[in-house]
Symmetry: C2
Subunit: 356 residues, 2 copies
């Protein structure tokens, strides 16, 4: 196809390959050298994207912003925003004749890759931590993928997956590392830009690996370069205090990953060593965004308030963005008159449901 | 508002009231005398509708039709098509200053009414059979609605809800009976007509009360009357053999409701005495559609095949439509070259997930 990747750190171009997910020189992650269009039509599709934006008046008042909007990313085909990335990645896998892949995931990406692989006729094995929510594991298995539960932390899961790929000559379809996955998430920005004119002043993302935040950054940057948007929202990163590598790095606070793994209700963002950490920091710096780490109890609180006040049922990971909004308002980083967008990333069914 | 209803049987007009859900003369259900537009914008909205249509090539081949399409109705805000009806019904409730409602449901409608009531600031009590899937009950409760579990069959649940409404002067927000709910489901046809040109030859619906089938009939009929579609698809009703009042009536087969309640994996269509039975039969007759009752094992089979072949994860109730398609193909009612549409009505998370 003549596709090329470019190293995030050193800007070195090399031909695209499913087997090269890190720069051989600096071990940094890769981007696509030729960005995909903002409105691609992937060959393998389940109708992902096109998610609604709704005004959250009541919870906005509790959070101190009148103009709070949510983009309901959980209304993607497998119940999370990951489908935007999977559609592009799996389309490329099928185009290249790949018959078998493996991937590691705490749940949502694994379900998404499994669904798109089922549709594409590609066999998938998903490596997941033993602590992953049962519903996500059941969903993955029901798409016909092989679920491999791995003891230990998230890194142990990734290592087990990599070993499996090397030993069995299986393509490692990593949603964290694949530059194609990121290209797919740009669609979030393209749609949001069309749905919110002018663009919001702020957008807050729950961040584990940051694929949605990075995709939104790339998307808005491309839209700004063509004059389709007049400005780029400040993109903010929200993490849990239980797992806050990016917030710590951005705010230059000391943080040591807990040895036993991160114990957080927001399992979707419990990534202790995100490979794209520097790219997320770059996006925050470039857009004037911030990073904040929130309390576990606040995540649960806003998950419940969102459901009670607005009738929107998300998993705890998604509610972290609201907890982050509360903190950034309190710190004065976001003002009452600002227009704010949050993606609501995963359906409430996917994780354990707290008591009402 | 000057709104009027019209009796389905006797065509008598009377002023619309939330308290009159059956014709006082003939006890038949009511329709709105002034149909809502096909593209209404309800005041209370969660961004319902706008669901994608995807081509199901692989499962289509197994079912013997090349041109099989699915409209992913489970990608509505609470995970089922019911949101189309709830948006309109709850908007009217709020406009009329209603503060408190009750409703009976096997799960999906209850979750939907609860979510829209939460958004509208209306208190809701949902009466559900004790056998309703735990996920649906947890979802309803998490929206802040009161869940009232009732022992006995579906009719006992409805009676308990009605008693509660009378004793406490609470509005009975019945999705089965409310003519506003049906008006909301017309949007399905409006969208499908825009997404599939020419319209499909057939559309198959899993039917309990039939609100989506009736809404689709009304929608397509209005579109045909304005020349926006050239013809109306044949609308088919699919039920489970465990609960087949409409299929039995249409095919003039004897069927006695089992005294202990219908034991089916398709809980969403386990309605033994659907109040709109005659209206569904009318829709079938008017469009040249059929009604078919399918085996339990076939429902589960096609639910799994849909997931394995196409990466689409629905609850068993939704898969009944595919089982019905298989039977109607076998009977020769649907031909290999026909274009077929199925709504996939509820997300797979909502019910018990069978083994992969």
């Amino acid at each position: 196809m003549g596709l090329e990747t470019v190293c995030v750190n050193g800007q070195r171009r090399r031909p695209f390959s499913f087997d090269t997910l890190l720069c051989p020189s600096c071990r940094g992650p890769l981007d696509m050298a030729q960005p995909a269009g903002l409105t691609v039509h992937p060959a393998v599709t389940l109708g992902e994207g096109g998610t609604p934006v709704v005004h959250l008046q009541k919870i906005g008042r509790e959070l101190g912003v009148e103009a709070l909007f949510a983009k309901l990313e959980f209304l993607n085909p497998t119940g999370s925003f990951k489908d935007r990335g999977s559609a592009l990645l799996v389309s490329a896998l099928r185009e290249h004749g790949v018959r078998q892949v493996a991937e590691d995931s705490s749940g949502n990406a694994g379900a998404s890759i499994s669904a798109y692989c089922a549709r594409a006729g590609i066999r998938a094995a998903i490596f997941a931590p033993g602590s992953a929510p049962p519903m996500k594991l059941a969903q993955i298995a029901f798409y016909g993928a092989e679920v491999v539960k791995v003891a230990g932390d998230r890194e142990a899961v990734a290592q087990a997956c990599l070993r499996h790929c090397r030993q069995n000559s299986v393509v490692y379809a990593s949603h964290n590392l694949s530059p194609l996955f990121i290209e797919g998430t740009k669609g979030f920005a393209a749609e949001a830009a069309a749905q919110m004119r002018p663009p919001p002043d702020h957008a807050l993302f729950p961040v584990g690996n940051g694929s949605l935040l990075i995709g939104a950054w790339k998307g808005y940057t491309e839209l700004a370069s063509t004059g389709d948007v007049q400005r780029i929202p400040r993109l903010h990163c929200v993490q849990s205090k239980a797992c806050m590598p990016i917030a710590a790095a951005h705010r230059k606070t000391p943080w040591t990953p807990p040895p036993a793994g991160a114990d957080t209700v927001a399992g979707g963002i419990a990534v202790r060593n995100p490979p794209r950490l520097h790219q997320v920091l770059q996006a925050l710096d470039a857009t004037g965004g911030d990073a904040v780490a929130v309390e576990e109890s606040d995540i649960i609180h806003w998950q419940r308030r969102l459901s009670h006040l607005e009738g929107i049922f998300v998993e705890p990971t998604s509610a972290a963005a609201l907890a982050g909004l509360y903190d950034l308002r309190k710190e004065g980083r976001i003002r009452p008159q600002d227009r704010v967008l949050v993606p609501l990333t995963g359906f409430g069914f996917k994780d354990r449901i707290p008591n009402p």
